[in-house]
Symmetry: C2
Subunit: 460 residues, 2 copies
């Protein structure tokens, strides 16, 4: 959604070099809103607008611009000005940004960034993507346990401008070991007793994460405990950073996105749809299509083995897609239900028996329903099927068996993945479906052979 | 995951009625952690443990217990004690809880809750589920614009205990109209000038939501702006509550969950997998299975129309599942990509032409790849296909056409849904797949008829 409302005015002001007008525009609204109104400007125009305002506001608005505009600005603007912007940005965000930018540009820009910030960037970039260290920010409210409430508030007043959050104040000893936490709320409540020591106020029992922990695990901890932020420590319990609620929200969005792609057998995209090149897109889809194709080949092999059954009762062919899709759909449903339940911790491997019992009953209920529909279907005049009563039972019996089979595969595969230690979210619905298709062909043809044999017994 | 570590000790203390030991257990750790260690206790045992501690700690730990334990406690414990707990709980959480509880129990408990809290509960329950009003809390830091920084801090010190967040302080006029916001950070920074009026500090430009707004829209606003909380107003701009970051996280989880269910053609569950009765589960799946079955019937009808083609080239039947699944998988991929891109606002309806161009090229690339594989397949000895060169072209040509067709359907349907104003996330992958199946049968058989006709021309 592009807010084109202000675009003509912005462009006019740019053309007229109306610095004070643009400056006014930059400061009038919440930076996030301002960034929204700038959508539609080119990166060059956006940067010109931002240069009219003070560096604090500039950095804030910049942080809300779309990623591709941010990257373009960094890559194409004056390196000196860009390095000042980078020095001002929150430590975690600037590392994310630099990871997107052409390495050649980073090489030119980074030496212009002040030493302290540069070191910080290099330190954070050393953590592999997807770890707590890569998501955390190093700007944390850190105070000594010997301080009083008054001293703490004064120190915070000085630091507040630079900190991402002041709502938890972490208490460290002389060697930066994390000792406890004090909430801003507690400080405010002790305004009347300003001599109280932080060590008397602080909470010792702390939930922390290690810098090398997986970001998903971190996000879940923050969400489970309703934290605003969680401290990140190294293996010796030194406080190295914090991860704040907004970063956690981003992690959740990212993970939900990845899960959705995986469920549809697409390798997760790194950029947005339109930014991903067609070749990359084709590759990320093609890999899975080819794997699924190879698996589906087994259905062709299976069917070729039963050529004589098909010869004998040719109308069985009509129902192949219907039967495959019924099995696949019920399997996909079970797989999704169990994957979600596992990831929400609603079920564990200990519930395996319960799950199979529930899925068996559900499968029998759903399968019987579809079997009745399938039986009724054979009498549809449009299909014009003339057959023996035994042959007419093939489709309904197959539907019942395949829905139960699909339900079992769908529920069982995520449990199997979990048991062998593979993330069950990696399992795509098409993967479940193709397995059910292969089984489905065999079930269908076996039932047909069996019914024809029964028929011969009667005739014989 | 059940932390059974402390269970035996807890049970021992309960049996020995060791009140002080249990009290110690309740206060030693973060309430979220304490709740984790209580997993495995029955609702009755958990409540006994909680009754040993003060009502503040009790309410906090209770808030971290699993939903089903919370419900059981409310339904089976002494109504007087429960009503005290409810009065202490955050307004939004207690309303969620009461919505889960047996209405007969609510009728008994509610009259025991103090008048003020009871009114608040009734007011919040009046908002329909899924709206901002139903998610918000009414405990908001609300101050008058005429206050000074010192007065504000003193007032906050008094109120802090009861408030869910003190990090944004909302400024209202005499009639509760929302006028602005002041951050706790700003107050701390102005400790040196305690006479500063809030009206001089406050930010006038505020992003708000209305109580009747959809919760998903609210969650996106909070995430887009990296807010800790967002104020909720009525249609006359009276401040009625706030929605905090943790509620937003819950909304995101809920919505991601619903999308995952819908993508697999399961009506979203209200409770967790194990809590949902098998009949309800069967119903939520069966509705979609029957609809999809009815649609898939058209594939049977289509195939029956082409009986003579199948008679002529019987081995074409072997490839039916393979062709259907290739079309369905590529369509499902496109649908997922476009649904995600639409919901992330990476693309809009204005990009329709670009999307179709990209999907056409991707489809041609993927389709050609599968066509080559499909052609090679006909020479597999295990399939034992003896046929004319024209007939051998049927499968590869169909694969190319059906992958492009699938890609177009998959990308086009979400765009169509969006254009007619229906949420594209309601569209399930099986729905896309069954449409592609129907088209696929027709494409397959048409290509076959065409190739056989070409063959006859040559022979003739």
């Amino acid at each position: 959604m592009i807010n084109t409302l202000y675009l003509p005015e912005l462009r006019e002001m740019l053309a007229a070099e109306d610095t004070s007008g643009l400056q006014e525009f930059c400061t009038a609204l919440h930076p996030g809103r301002t960034a929204e109104f700038m959508e539609g400007l080119t990166a060059e125009e956006a940067w010109k607008v931002l240069l009219t305002t003070d560096s604090g506001t500039r950095t804030e608005i910049f942080g809300f611009l779309p990623e591709e505009i941010q990257t373009e600005i960094v890559e194409n603007s004056d390196p000196q000005q860009v390095s000042e912007l980078i020095a001002e940005m929150p430590p975690d965000d600037r590392v994310d940004l630099l990871n997107q930018v052409d390495p050649a540009v980073v090489e030119v820009t980074l030496p212009l960034v002040p030493t302290e910030e540069r070191r910080d960037i290099l330190r954070l970039r050393a953590y592999p993507e997807g770890t707590a260290g890569a998501v955390m920010t190093t700007e944390v409210a850190k105070l000594s346990e010997t301080m009083s409430v008054r001293e703490a508030l004064e120190e915070l007043g000085r630091q507040a401008e630079d900190l991402e959050t002041i709502y938890y104040i972490y208490i460290v000893d002389d060697e930066d070991h994390l000792r406890g936490v004090v909430g801003a709320r507690q400080l405010v409540q002790h305004l009347g007793k300003p001599q109280t020591k932080l060590s008397d106020l602080m909470e010792h029992s702390l939930v922390t994460v290690e810098a090398t922990d997986d970001q998903e695990l971190v996000a879940e901890k923050v969400a489970d405990f309703d934290f605003l932020a969680i401290p990140v420590v190294d293996d010796q319990n030194h406080l190295v950073g914090i991860i704040t609620h907004d970063d956690v929200m981003d992690v959740f969005r990212e993970e939900a996105e990845e899960d959705a792609y995986r469920a549809a057998a697409v390798e997760p995209l790194e950029d947005s749809y339109l930014q991903t090149s067609i070749l990359e897109l084709a590759w990320k889809r093609g890999v899975w299509l080819v794997i699924l194709f190879a698996a589906a080949l087994l259905t062709a092999v299976a069917l070729s083995e039963y050529e004589d059954v098909i010869d004998r009762v040719p109308w069985l062919v009509f129902f192949i897609p219907l039967i495959m899709s019924s099995g696949g759909n019920s399997g996909g449903q079970s797989a999704t239900l169990i994957i979600r339940a596992l990831s929400n911790k609603d079920v564990t491997l200990a519930d395996t028996t319960t799950i199979f019992k529930r899925e068996l009953i559900t499968g029998l209920l759903l399968g019987s329903g579809l079997a009745i529909l399938g039986y009724a279907t054979s009498f549809l005049p449009i299909l014009d099927i003339t057959s023996t009563p035994y042959e007419l039972l093939v489709v309904p019996i197959t539907l019942l068996v395949i829905v139960v089979f699909g339900t079992f595969c769908g529920a069982g595969l995520p449990l199997l993945f979990r048991r062998i230690g593979v993330d069950e979210a990696l399992m795509s619905t098409p993967f479940v479906t193709v397995l059910i298709d292969i089984g489905g062909v065999i079930i269908y043809m076996t039932v047909a052979v069996w019914m024809i044999a029964e028929l011969q017994k009667v005739v014989g």
